[in-house]
């Protein structure tokens, strides 16, 4: 996959991921998967050698939302459910930024569902990480839209009577060009997945299973690191898609047959979470990004990004020539 990230990788090896760990403590509960995700993200950024000040890390509101406060890049803790609009606004005006958005499953698939869906349509070059813990952590464990029908984690007084959405299938259905899943405490896999997502040119979703020991006693660390018995044989709960020969990457994006086949394969795989849990890249396709398409429509963007186009001189006199703007009004 072609990436514009190479030129950004100026600081490979020049700092350690631990330098990205700030003084601010997000005060997550002991054993919370959020620690794992934040750590992996710091590692991914450091390993990619990105200049931290060119990374803009946006988060929603929730336990997960505090992640942006605890990483020493530009960190923007936005509003509940609105992380994607913020991230998109920044990326579209300054494409030079590496934009990473993250938030809870309530944040992203619940109140933010509309933006989640529409971000797929735009294919802006950025990464979106969802902390999938099946609950609303920060408000004390209500059902998130990822919680299965009938499930009753310890925080719920009564069983959940709503179905879960399938976020990966939704992502496929609305145009995400990179769709992956990982697990908060599989540090290596998560870090690598995040690196791939950041390197991907286009809108990338990484859904991360995240144990919430305080409220979710169904899908715990033990659950994910446990085994499944199938016809007498024991298998680890999670496995890597790549290990099974699965290849989610579209080799030739202009071949509709391949795109369609890889898409259907992803949709099928997205539903295989009942027993064993596949991790990895479900789908990836290289399509023109929104930023690129914008240039076709707006000539000045071919030379400057929006934030760079000049509009005043040293004396702060505005330099924009209004002739063409006013042409049709002059009498």
């Amino acid at each position: 996959m072609v990436t514009n990230l190479q030129e950004k990788a100026r600081y490979k090896g020049s700092y350690k991921f631990s330098q990205l760990k700030g003084d601010y403590s997000p005060e997550w509960c002991p054993g919370c998967g959020d620690f794992g995700i934040n750590g992996a993200l710091q590692q991914a950024i450091a390993e990619l050698g990105l200049p931290p000040w060119e990374v803009a890390f946006f988060t929603g509101v929730g336990c997960s939302g505090k992640a942006s406060q605890a990483v020493n890049t530009y960190g923007i803790h936005t509003l509940h459910g609105r992380v994607l609009p913020y991230a998109l606004g920044a990326k579209l005006t300054n494409p030079n930024l590496v934009v990473v958005a993250a938030g809870g499953d309530g944040d992203g698939y619940g109140i933010g569902a509309g933006h989640f869906l529409h971000a797929g349509r735009r294919n802006v070059d950025m990464t979106y990480i969802v902390f999938n813990n099946e609950v609303y952590g920060l408000t004390k464990g209500q059902a998130a839209p990822t919680l299965a029908l009938g499930a009753q984690p310890k925080s719920l007084p009564l069983p959940n009577i709503s179905q879960a959405i399938n976020p990966l299938a939704v992502a496929v259905s609305c145009g995400y060009t990179f769709i992956a899943r990982s697990y908060a405490f599989d540090g290596k896999h998560l870090k690598e997945t995040l690196m791939k997502a950041i390197e991907h040119r286009g809108m990338a979703l990484v859904d991360v299973f995240q144990p919430c020991p305080t409220y979710n006693d169904l899908h715990t660390k033990d659950y994910y690191s446990g085994v499944v018995s199938f016809e007498g044989v024991e298998y680890p709960r999670t496995y890597y898609l790549e290990d099974t020969g699965y290849n989610g990457v579209v080799e030739n994006p202009t071949d509709p047959a391949e795109v369609s086949q890889k898409r259907q394969q992803a949709l099928q795989k997205a539903y295989e979470v009942e027993e064993r849990v596949p991790l990895g890249v479900y789908f990836q396709v290289g399509l023109p990004t929104y930023d690129e398409l914008l240039k076709q429509n707006l000539p000045p963007l071919r030379e400057h990004s929006p934030v760079e186009i000049p509009y005043h001189d040293d004396q702060m006199k505005p330099t924009t020539d209004l002739t063409s703007a006013l042409a049709s009004f002059v009498v």
């Binding site: 330098q19 406060q69 890049t73 606004g89």
Partner: protein, 614 residues
């Protein structure tokens, strides 16, 4: 018969039938002929079929509003004639299609002159002459209606020039047929009975403005132009009447490189704007009532994070979906208080095209200088009305980006640590303003959060920090109040001593300005006018000063509850005793202002409710 200096033309017809283009052409024709025009547009929330109309006032002097009586009504179907004929002044003219309209069946002044236009014959003629299809030619009915200019004594050259100017580029191929249509109609009208003694021909303009010295445009475009001048590079919107007009205008100018982003909803629109502003790109969003109601939370985030976001709210008839295509000034108090909790907002309301341009330009300055959201309240009447105006004054404009700290001077690209240095984005300062870094600047790493925060932008719930941060943010409004030039806060028109002082805002300004003259000349009344432009921070002292000195104070607003009068009471304690209100969704005319002022002066009415207009 003596010629007139001020006449009003109207055209009506089903939506989608070209009424707008007809009016555009007519207005330009008059402007080309050297007149000053003001055009009001009324339409339904509907795509095709419902009645719409356009009213254009033509004057030998600059004019800023419309009047209620009409002198010339151009129709090409029955409904318009039925609805509007009664608005014709005695001796006015009705242009109609004799195939569909029976003038005897209309309720109108008996002295109205009747000018049957044989539309079908004219079109058939054209079809014969050009070999073109009659159905396709039907659209030229609109051009035909314009030819009524003949009745007003305007030379055909003006019509022709206007057609040439309007049908440019891709549309140029339609020129010949339209010129032909116009010419036929012009000649046809000139031959009709009553042509000669029609009493509302126009005086020729003596000091004809130089060609190219004026603009003929509406408020939505004026705002758009102001944004371009200000260097706005990112505009989000979610389609909504009437805000969408500004967005379409901007979309039609890709040459300026402004990204006009059609978001999935207004929540995305406002929050994307907030995100974009962080990079340093001047950014704004435009919406109307229902969309604005969805932006409250996002505006609050900009408030607590001191983000210079600019929001244009094009007011229309509310509440709820209300009257989507009609005028109202009903969002003032909502805009002032939008969003839970206390945070500083700058709220301004332009009152004419020049102020639209200026306020659009300055809104970005205010936003960046005071690092807080700016809400610009336009109203539908201002957005959709066409006016001939002097060219914008661009020379005096200066960009003010406020305090930007820029990248760290200590940054050394070879030393990653210098780039990773932290920065106190929300440093407590005397003025309340903290120098602002932009995302991506080395050595300025900091955080933002909708939670209360410390100078670095880290969440805090410490009472002592909270205490300071609230004060720091709120006092920026005091600074704005001191620094922003007085004439951008309010304007005062007319004699310093007067019998009646009018207070008004937004689009109503035009009608009041024009009415002042009439009241003086025709009714011998001394009336002055205080126009409020800045709603927050409110120029309380100045306003109170003026109102205390006034004899009779009267407010005029296009809303039910007198929102500006309420604001004045809230900020000054002054209780305006006479309110003139209109909430039918139709804008206020010069005629209505004159009558209302007289009524208040004569009867001391506490409340005058205006209802004119269809």
């Amino acid at each position: 018969m003596s010629r007139k200096t001020d006449v009003c033309w109207m055209i009506g017809g089903p939506q989608g039938s070209g009424v707008d283009s007809s009016a555009t052409l007519y207005a330009r024709t008059m402007a080309v002929a050297g007149y000053w025009v003001y055009g009001k547009r009324e339409y339904h929330s509907n795509i095709k079929g419902k009645h719409s109309y356009f009213q254009i006032r033509v004057n030998t002097e600059p004019v800023h509003s419309f009047i209620d009586p009409i002198h010339l009504l151009a129709t090409f179907e029955k409904t318009t004639a039925q609805i509007h004929a009664h608005e014709l002044v005695p001796g006015g003219a009705l242009l109609y299609d004799p195939n569909t309209v029976d003038p005897d069946a209309l309720e109108m002044e008996s002295s109205v002159k009747r000018f049957p236009i044989p539309y079908d014959d004219l079109i058939k003629n054209m079809a014969d002459q050009t070999g073109q299809n009659m159905v396709k030619l039907a659209i030229t009915k609109n051009t035909i209606s314009v030819a009524a200019a003949a009745l007003q004594g305007v030379p055909f050259e003006a019509v022709e020039t206007a057609i040439l100017e309007l049908f440019s580029g891709r549309r140029a191929k339609a020129i010949p047929i339209n010129v032909l249509a116009a010419r036929q109609a012009y000649e046809c009208v000139s031959r009709l009975d009553g042509f000669e003694d029609y009493g509302f021909k126009l005086v020729e303009v003596s000091n004809k403005p130089e060609k190219g010295s004026r603009l003929l445009m509406n408020g939505a475009a004026a705002c758009g132009v102001g944004k371009l001048k200000a260097g706005c590079r990112f505009q989000t919107y979610y389609s909504i009447t009437p805000a969408v007009d500004e967005c379409i205008y901007l979309e039609e100018h890709p040459e300026y490189g402004i990204v006009v982003y059609q978001a999935e909803d207004e929540l995305a629109a406002i929050n994307m704007t907030n995100g974009a502003v962080l990079t340093g790109a001047r950014s704004s969003t435009a919406t109307s009532g229902p969309g604005f109601s969805l932006m409250a939370e996002g505006i609050g985030w900009a408030g607590i994070n001191e983000v210079p976001t600019v929001v244009f709210n094009y007011q229309r008839g509310g509440p709820s979906t209300g009257l989507p295509t009609r005028n109202e000034q009903g969002d003032l108090l909502f805009a002032l208080h939008t969003g839970h909790g206390d945070f500083p907002k700058i709220v301004i309301a332009p009152g004419d095209m020049h102020e639209c341009f200026e306020d659009a330009f300055y809104s970005f300055n205010y936003a960046e200088r005071y690092q807080t959201p700016v809400i610009v309240l336009v109203d539908k009447a201002l957005a959709n009305s066409t006016q001939s105006i002097a060219q914008f004054d661009e020379a005096s404009l200066r960009v003010d980006r406020g305090e930007l700290c820029g990248p760290s001077p200590d940054f050394n690209p070879d030393d990653v640590k210098t780039g990773m240095q932290l920065y106190e984005r929300f440093k407590i300062t005397e003025s309340g303003i903290s120098p602002r870094p932009l995302l991506g600047e080395p050595g300025r790493v900091h955080w933002l959060t909708g939670d209360e925060h410390d100078p670095l932008g880290h969440i805090t719930e410490k009472p002592e920090i909270r205490l300071q941060m609230m004060e720091k943010r709120m006092k920026k409004l005091d600074l704005a109040s001191q620094e922003i030039p007085v004439d951008r806060q309010y304007n005062f028109y007319g004699p310093s001593q007067a019998d009646v002082t009018i207070v008004a805002w937004g689009s109503t300004k035009g009608a009041v300005i024009d009415a002042l003259k009439v009241l003086e000349k025709e009714h011998g009344m001394k009336v002055n006018f205080l126009q409020i432009r800045m709603m927050s921070p409110f120029p309380s002292e100045a306003v109170l000063d003026i109102l205390r000195q006034a004899k009779t104070v009267l407010s005029i607003e296009s809303n039910y509850s007198g929102q500006l009068a309420q604001l004045i009471r809230l900020r000054t304690g002054f209780d305006i005793q006479h309110q003139v209100l209109k909430w039918t969704g139709r804008p206020i005319s010069e005629t209505e202002v004159v009558a209302a002022v007289k009524e208040v002066a004569e009867k001391a009415s506490r409340k005058v409710v205006l209802t004119c207009g269809h």
